[in-house]
Symmetry: C2
Subunit: 504 residues, 2 copies
């Protein structure tokens, strides 16, 4: 990957000045069109060797273009709010919206590379991280993000000379400390990790662009021209990037046996039994939520189900057991303008809980493979890829120590009819039944297929679906409480207890 | 304030059950209408004596109403991201949007009260905090927030009995530790601070409601009925709360002498002088931004000015001196949907910088007293009150150790004409000139009055306006750089240097 970067590229000052003026104007124009069209964001990753001109180039881009629509982020030590969420949360919160340019100094690749170079993780773990990065970047590209990855390079000799010359100039001496020389000693090991990494994460949509870093004019023109060509190409495409592409079909059902039809929807529970169980499980859930170890973890509970299946009632039985200070309830409806300017998972990432709290999603990211699939709000290819994107999303939570529980509350078509009719009668339930509910009901069979596909493709060991037979509300609520409580208790068990603090 | 709360209020279980069912239905309906109308948010503050049923009541409200549209926040230790912003930042980020209900456990009053009870701040400082709270709450009410403040009370004897009974029950024993008994010893001192505080911060729009906390049925009905009546009253008002009210007029200019006309707009600077000064001040600014003490402070720079006065060019000369990683450039345009659902200052609070960084606002909160005043986007009363709201906002930044610099770039009407014409000619400046610029130009005189009022009313010792004579771009840019740099250097001087760390 680095062969060309080692050559003695050079652009003289006069040639540079001539081209710079033109380039700058063209970049400004491209940026203006990007903002006007507002169709996609541009995300530039800056990586590479120390001293190869990363900072200088970014400052130059800010100078060439309109800095009001460029936002640069450096990811150094995570804040405590960031440490309490999955590792990628900090990148999601910094993503540029459509029409804007974001620049990341270091990104998702930084940590695994450093850990591998320092020998803190094994080859297999590093490979797993690479796989995760590939999938994340693919998802961003599929969502329409123009992802541009620059690797600024110096050969070992070039880097030594660069550090020495920075050291000799009083104006730049501060940039070279023992830390920089310590890193320099790791040069060979660093390259041995990065070279295959760059190859493995270079794709047709988001290749790594190696920029020879020794000559400042050469590297500026290389980046400027490439950035311009990339943005311009995407602006001039008639179709926005993420438009319908055909996915291969999923198999149609061969018989009537599926995860839903196999459910015994009429599981009964008497009122007496319910009240006993309710007290028992709410008590246990309350106790678990007050465990000191809960302050080092968090819970995400997803509620999906047929309209009228009793999600609200089940959620209420959960929240009754908890202190209102430590849970939040996210009702997922139409995305806001700021949410529409981002990849579809963004609006869920932003609500992930801090440690010591529980977030309930009343409907969730599964809308992608349910309502959006059925109503045609996104293309086949979009909802098809969502299964693995969602699995990655949930896995990153579980790996971070969060508990993820997911409920599908299922009722029969007859039971739904009965409940809709009842809701229309009861005054204070009137807002629970709309024309849309009746319209959705007509698509019952399509939803059944979508739900079965969803369960098959996203029920993982780490974040399994719990299908809840919900014709009987008592049974449903207890099953939800019990499942959630047990999952929370099991996770608490995995966390070592701290020795109790002495009373003062 | 607490006389009635000490009486033996009691509601028996049967009476409570009867009323609860009705109350719940009415609250649900009110909440539904609140969401449907989406005209205003409801913010409930929960305060009072330990053990008086604060948590229980909030849990009950969540149970009675639809928890999807209630968001409770407890403010315990601030996170590091919160500590790096002015004290009220954490409350702003948790404000409920229009149509929703927010519940704050503790809020802006908690810290001053605790500090005063503990003797950490003096009476005068506490009074200053009270004044600040009064103004903040007034502003929220003026912005249409329905602010409801509940104080849950117990007499000293009631509190002792309550703590004892919690201690005796195995289920609630965890709630009473040494900390609670230590607080109990401070009961009298606590009341001596809170009683006058409650009186002083009770206003017609947002009075404190003292809720006797000893009897759980009584306090539940008290809160439930009051909340219902309050929301219902505001829903039924034909006019939304924040509609035009007349403000008293400001004086019309008596002569032509004002802060703008007194400027010598044509101050000159030669190109040669400019290049020398530019190097000097950019160098100093760069040096200051790399001072280790900068990691413990932040800078907010506001750029306002006539259209075409060269804000963009001046900003660029500032950013050229800085590392792109450590500044952000906020271009203030039309607010987004999420921003429109909040008080107008919300969209600026959300962009305040963390420590070690600088945020440039290209246009700002001053839009309220400029374009919004002139175009009639808000009522007279709204922009009139904005002066002091803005002063409070900026003062809270300065008190937190942030540097606030504000520039008005002024050009003459002739110079503006010349620049507009020129912009229409130059291809890559075409996006800098629109029909709106020509329209605004027709209101030149109205803007002049508004700018003079703005400078008179918001140029404070802590955050003064710098009026920049900008007919000559060189002069303007250097004045901006020099002012910003000097302000930053002065603030750095106030921070004690840490002893240098030893090299390893």
């Amino acid at each position: 990957m680095f062969e060309s970067a080692k050559l003695k590229h050079h652009v003289d000052k006069a040639a540079y000045r001539r081209e710079e003026a033109k380039l700058r104007e063209a970049l400004l124009n491209a940026q203006f069109d990007l903002k006007q069209q507002g169709r996609f964001p541009v995300l530039i990753l800056i990586a590479g060797v120390e001293g190869a001109g990363k900072g200088e180039t970014v400052n130059l881009l800010n100078e060439w273009m309109d800095p009001r629509h460029i936002h640069a982020h450096a990811f150094s030590q995570p804040s405590d709010e960031e440490r309490e969420r999955p590792a990628h949360w900090r990148f999601w919160r910094a993503l540029p919206p459509k029409g804007e340019i974001g620049i990341f100094f270091g990104a998702w690749h930084t940590m695994p590379i450093v850990q591998r170079v320092m020998g803190e993780i094994r080859k297999a773990e590093f490979s797993a991280a690479v796989g995760e990065i590939q999938r994340l970047e693919k998802m961003l590209c599929d969502e329409g993000v123009v992802l541009i990855k620059y690797w600024f390079h110096l050969s070992k000799g070039q880097q030594r000379r660069r550090l020495k010359s920075l050291e000799q100039d009083p104006k730049t001496r501060w940039r070279v400390t023992d830390v920089e020389w310590d890193y320099f000693k790791l040069y060979d090991r660093f390259i041995r990790v990065c070279e295959p990494f760059l190859r493995e994460t270079s794709t047709g949509e988001a290749p790594w662009i190696v920029v020879p870093g020794a000559d400042s004019h050469f590297r500026a023109l290389t980046v400027g021209r490439h950035l311009l060509a990339t943005i311009r190409k995407r602006l001039d495409e008639k179709q926005p990037k993420a438009l319908p592409r055909k996915a291969l079909p999923l198999p149609a059902p061969t018989d009537n046996l599926n995860v839903l039809s196999a459910l015994e929807l009429n599981r009964k529970m008497t009122r007496e039994e319910y009240e006993q169980e309710l007290e028992k499980w709410q008590g246990r859930l309350n106790l678990a939520s007050r465990d000191p170890r809960f302050k080092t973890m968090s819970v995400v509970a997803v509620f999906e189900g047929n309209d009228g299946a009793g999600k609200g009632g089940a959620i209420r039985r959960v929240t009754q057991a908890l202190d209102a200070r430590w849970y939040d309830n996210i009702s997922v409806a139409v995305p806001t303008e700021e949410e529409r300017a981002q990849p579809y998972l963004w609006r869920f990432w932003r609500h992930l809980p801090r440690h010591g709290s529980l977030t309930i999603f009343d409907r969730s990211w599964y809308g992608r493979v349910l309502v959006e699939r059925i109503e045609g709000f996104c293309s086949d290819a979009d909802w098809m890829r969502a299964y693995s994107e969602i699995n990655d999303f949930e896995e990153s939570m579980v790996r971070h120590g969060e508990v993820v529980v997911k409920f599908w509350l299922a009722i029969s078509k007859d039971e739904q009819y009965r409940r809709f009719k009842q809701r229309e009668k009861v005054a204070f339930k009137r807002f629970k039944i709309t024309q849309e509910d009746w319209r959705n009901r007509k698509k019952w069979e399509a939803y059944e297929v979508a739900v079965c596909d969803m369960v098959d493709r996203t029920s993982t060991a780490a974040a399994p679906w719990t299908l809840v037979e919900a014709n009987n509300k008592y049974h449903a609520r207890i099953k939800v409480l019990k499942t959630l409580c047990t999952a929370l208790e099991e996770q608490l068990e995995r966390i070592p207890k701290k020795p109790a603090k002495k009373k003062q």
